[in-house]
Symmetry: C2
Subunit: 251 residues, 2 copies
């Protein structure tokens, strides 16, 4: 099995190393990842700058390609230019921090897997729901199990990827796996307005705590209750339900 691995925290992150070590036990892992952090890049691709690629060895057998691009660029580059053989699966992660609710739209980690799905390869993104003191070992184990399931069932629809979020608790406290929708909960956010030493105003985006009413059977609540959430995400964003109503408008 050929596994293409990417992420948005960069090739030197601990999350991608944990994933590399776990997935190496079930296949040949090729890493193509950003040369530094690219968080919240959404599904960005690089059109107006050239991309550069550098071979990296992080010690042991950990060998990969670092690029100057985004996660989506990495997957495109890997498949269209670097790899001799098409991978059987694309895995993106392990992200430091959850990717749930509307954050899915902003996530570089998810976009790496999205690009895999666009290119017709079974893909998943995996994130650990903490920003501090991460322990990636359980998430890395779970990724291995999921990769095997994907290749066994072979029924992921074209253009659909899996978005996985792992609670950041001890293995024994994890209650199980739930297949849930992406939450539509509002994101709590605000801008800190500050003045620099030269008296010029600038803004920092902050306060991204995600609200939840506790009733929603969706990814945010699921992870909070210590279940692993898996959400199938598709690249067709059409709101089919609204099409008939829209046809009644007069143009």
């Amino acid at each position: 099995m050929n596994i293409l691995l990417t992420n948005d925290d960069g090739i030197f992150s601990e999350g991608i190393r944990a994933l590399y070590e776990s997935l190496s036990r079930i296949g040949k892992v090729i890493i193509v990842a950003p040369d530094s952090e690219r968080s919240a890049v959404g599904h960005a691709i690089t059109l107006s700058d050239p991309l550069r690629v550098k071979k990296i060895n992080r010690g042991g057998k950990f060998f990969g390609y670092a690029t100057t691009g985004t996660p989506a660029d990495c997957v495109k580059l890997a498949i269209r230019a670097i790899l001799k053989k098409r991978p059987d699966i694309v895995v993106s992660g392990i992200n430091l921090g959850p990717n749930v609710g509307y954050s899915v739209l902003y996530s570089g980690t998810v976009s790496g897997a999205t690009e895999g799905a666009i290119l017709g390869i079974p893909s998943f993104a995996i994130s650990l729901a903490t920003f501090t003191n991460p322990n990636y070992s359980f998430a890395a184990e779970f990724a291995k199990k999921l990769a095997k399931q994907i290749l066994k069932h072979k029924n992921l629809p074209k253009g659909t990827l899996l978005n996985v979020n792992i609670p950041a608790v001890e293995k024994k406290r994890i209650k199980g796996v739930r297949i849930v929708k992406q939450s539509g909960q509002a994101i709590e956010e605000r801008f800190d307005k500050r003045e620099d030493p030269r008296k010029r105003i600038y803004y920092w985006l902050t306060g991204e705590i995600i609200k939840s009413d506790g009733r929603d059977e969706a990814d945010i609540e699921t992870v909070r209750k210590n279940y692993i959430s898996i959400t199938p995400i598709h690249c067709d964003m059409t709101d089919y339900d609204f099409m008939d109503k829209l046809k009644l408008w007069k143009f």
Copy 2:
């Protein structure tokens, strides 16, 4: 009517000026847009850098705020920090070049409207299907008509925006308006591998011609046949159809 206007070609582009002039006839237009081009930024937001805002006057009544952020940042900043009053509608465009098929996922223009929808404001993105010699006048007129329809019907679902693509032909050759899905056609692309003067390799993404088999009733074909395409896009990317099958997997 308060109209918030953004784009991804930047505040100095011709597309946003055309839109400003047309929409000014039906409401008060406030412009918050990137200070330069931000194409293919996907739904990126800026977390690790501060954002700066500068007042711009392009002559006449054209007055706006240029930011160092992406289109999604612009809409967030406008609503959370700059504007005193919540806008009634968010309009993003007019983009130079179509945003159809999987390009919707890469598009900065669409992401400006997506951010509006996430924040609960009726929103649309509008693009002109040419990369050269644009004539924005018909698209700008159409945007005005569409804004009125949105505010008249008031039935855009929460989290749903409209993605509009205008054929780049004379007004009399436009055949009408069609409500269609986002195309799932593959994107033709490749990387040009080049060597810089210092003998180092770099890659350019190129060849983004979108294939079409001509049968698909979706945005790509619709615009190619000289119809205006309108696709309702929603921010919930869950693939509900696949959820039941996924529940049968063993974890």
